[in-house]
Symmetry: C7
Subunit: 85 residues, 7 copies
């Protein structure tokens, strides 16, 4: 049987690295992952938030340390610097 | 392995400091964090609520001690004074 | 470390006092808090309900003893008499 | 400390009396409460359902014994005969 | 204290009888109740589904044995043959 | 008391037979049921998906072995070959 | 009785193979499945994301290793290379 990687293992390996997170409300974030818990709540540092305004304008906001609610996360891409990379 | 900070640890360190909270219904709050529980329900003091009215007008409301329902919180930014800072 | 107040403690202290409650469906209530449980279901007396009709008209309705479903509550402000105060 | 009334106690006291129930989908019901459980599923008799049609017309429907799903209930007002009272 | 009837008791008594079920997505069903479980998932026989199309046309569809997901049920009326009765 | 059939019993009897499944997002599927679990996640073979495009066009798609998420299922009709039968 | 295949067994057999995943927000993904857990959170490699923009344009995006939140998954088709295959 092919070897498996468990979701929480994947996130654990990403500690200290960049990660791209897409939420259910279509907000996107990139940042350095500094912590998480079993509910996949995530602590990021050196964060950029990507938003598309109702008028279709792509907006980028720099944020400091940020905690994201796990139950609002749709998908995450370890090692990626987001939609511009 | 890089050291980790757990989400609830991050919030715990923020007790007594300013925090910026964004909810799933796009209401935003800044305030001084005075308490929280495992469901991330949060008690704030000296609160400002930021709302955008349907007509696009940014509205700011001062509130006293306020309790926010954790399951409605999308993200939080410790140490920040919100969208104007 | 700064002292903490737990969310349910905050609500407990509010028994017998006025409280302003905002729900996820944007209905707002003020009333005297006479009881609650661990799910933050709340019993109010001498209640005023604030609603904005689709036409934008602010409507106020007086209600007797009322029980609000906790999982529909977005935020609450102890000691406040609501949007008009 | 002021005396408390727990939510389920309030409902229990209402057995055999009239009650007004408002759901998350804005349907409203009045009826005589004949039973309930810990999930606040509610059994009503001699029921009137109040609905507002998309055209804004207030519609009243008489129903026999009815069971309402607790997780769809937004608020309830014991002893009340609904919006017309 | 007035005698109580528990929600699951009410449903249990309805086994073998007609029942009218309204779901959260506004589909309505009548049928003979032949089984249910603690999550109020319901097995119906000799079923009629009532739907209102986007154009406002009332559509009736005959179905055989049908299983309805309990968490999608809004209310049920034991002994009733639905909106036409 | 009339004899009962439990929901999971009904599904179990349907293993190896055709079944019509309607989801909460109005997608419909027919297929041969080859497995399920307690969360009513369902494994189908020889599957046809029925969709109505925003323009109102009925679209049919043939799929191989498919797993449907139970919490997205609204209703199911054992032994049926779907809306065309 | 016909033999059964349990949902998690089906996914387990798919480790190392291609899989097509459709989410509740209508995003679609194909990729090689490299891991999953009991909540059906899924780790994919060599991923293509299929999106339909509000203007109806089909957009394809190549992604590296990606983790999808199980509670946002609607259906999955093991062994398939997605809507183009």
């Amino acid at each position: 049987m092919a070897s498996q990687i468990l979701p929480l293992e994947l996130i654990d390996r990403c500690i200290g690295s960049r990660i791209w997170i897409i939420t259910k409300s279509d907000r996107e974030f990139t940042g350095t992952l500094t912590g998480f818990d079993d509910f996949v709540n995530m602590v990021l540092e050196d964060v950029t938030e990507f938003e598309t305004t109702p008028e279709g304008v792509r907006k980028k906001t720099k944020l400091n340390q940020t905690l994201l609610n796990g139950n609002n996360i749709c998908m995450l891409i370890p090692g990626s610097n987001g939609p511009d990379s």
